[in-house]
């Protein structure tokens, strides 16, 4: 896992942010926001919520940047923060939904989830749990190496490999099913 290079623009802009310079935050936003918003989109399966999480992340970044110790690349750390924020949001949404369901006593017409599964990948990922969605997207969609993924998910590479293998199988099954019904 690459450590933060002392002389990189990343390091320079981190120091600027730590010094309270908004330009440091702007550089980090311009460099990482697109990757983060797509990661959040694939976890939350909602564009609106993804934008909301990323905005929240960057607003809070000046406050939480002290947590970053430079033991990994800044991108790795940001992926992890975004991943955790998305899972927290889903958990909160799940709690709210359970509460609403308890109050509404199982309304059959009520939507089961708020996913915006407009594209085929979104539909394929909807069949996986949020953590696996995040993992599969970062590997296949962003091309994040396994070693870096191990730092993001805090799991050994072997565990990630087997999870990825199972996830790929599930997506392939989904694609075959879609093909059979003539959607692909």
């Amino acid at each position: 896992m690459p450590m933060t290079d002392w002389f990189s623009p990343e390091r320079k802009n981190l120091d600027r942010l730590r010094a309270g310079d908004l330009e440091g935050l702007k550089w980090i936003f311009e460099t990482y926001s697109e990757r983060l918003i797509n990661q959040c989109y694939r976890i939350l399966l909602s564009r609106e919520q993804a934008e909301d999480v990323v905005q929240d992340l960057f607003v809070r970044l000046p406050d939480i940047v002290g947590e970053f110790r430079g033991e990994s690349a800044l991108g790795t750390w940001l992926y992890r923060v975004a991943h955790n924020m998305c899972l927290t949001r889903l958990q909160q949404a799940g709690n709210r939904r359970r509460l609403e369901e308890a109050n509404l006593a199982a309304d059959e017409t009520a939507p089961r989830d708020a996913y915006e599964t407009s594209d085929l990948l979104g539909k394929a990922l909807a069949g996986l749990d949020p953590e696996t969605r995040s993992l599969l997207w970062l590997k296949e969609g962003e091309g994040v190496p396994l070693k870096e993924l191990s730092g993001i998910f805090k799991l050994p590479e072997g565990t990630l490999k087997s999870r990825l293998s199972r996830a790929r199988d599930r997506v392939r099954e989904f694609l075959e099913k879609e093909e059979r019904v003539g959607k692909v």
Partner: protein
């Protein structure tokens, strides 16, 4: 191209909406102006110190040397104590000077003397009293 790979490669990629940065800058800028920046060392150490193995090693070494020195100072006896300690012979002499114990034979002699002389004294007094009583009785 395999369908699986195509699925990811041709998937929709979204971009941050226009005005997102301005909104973040407005909200984060207020925090920055208020000085709410998580400075390195507040919750985490600065990158330079965190990533520098040399610093870590040097600090560990310094702490180790410090602990060893302290242990040596504590364990080494003071010179005056060492001089007084001397050998077993010196110690015996010193003990005799501080608290001389009487010889066992001397104690026995004292005990015998006291007991015998005491008994002699009692027997002599008894004899005198008996003699006096006898004299008184005869006078009557």
């Amino acid at each position: 191209m395999e369908r699986f790979e195509k699925l990811f490669r041709e998937s929709e990629r979204i971009r941050p909406p226009a005005g997102m940065w301005e909104s973040i800058a407005a909200r984060a800028g207020m925090a920055l102006k208020a000085g709410k920046v998580g400075k390195a060392g507040e919750r985490g150490a600065p990158i330079a110190r965190e990533t520098g193995w040399g610093w870590k090693m040097a600090a560990s070494l310094a702490v180790g040397i410090g602990v060893l020195s302290a242990l040596l100072v504590v364990m080494k006896p003071a010179p005056e104590v060492a001089d007084k300690a001397g050998g077993a012979e010196d110690f015996a002499v010193a003990r005799a000077a501080v608290s001389p114990l009487p010889d066992e034979d001397d104690l026995y002699w004292h005990a015998d003397l006291g007991e015998e002389s005491g008994m002699d004294w009692v027997e002599e007094e008894d004899a005198l009293l008996l003699d006096a009583a006898a004299a008184d009785a005869t006078d009557e």
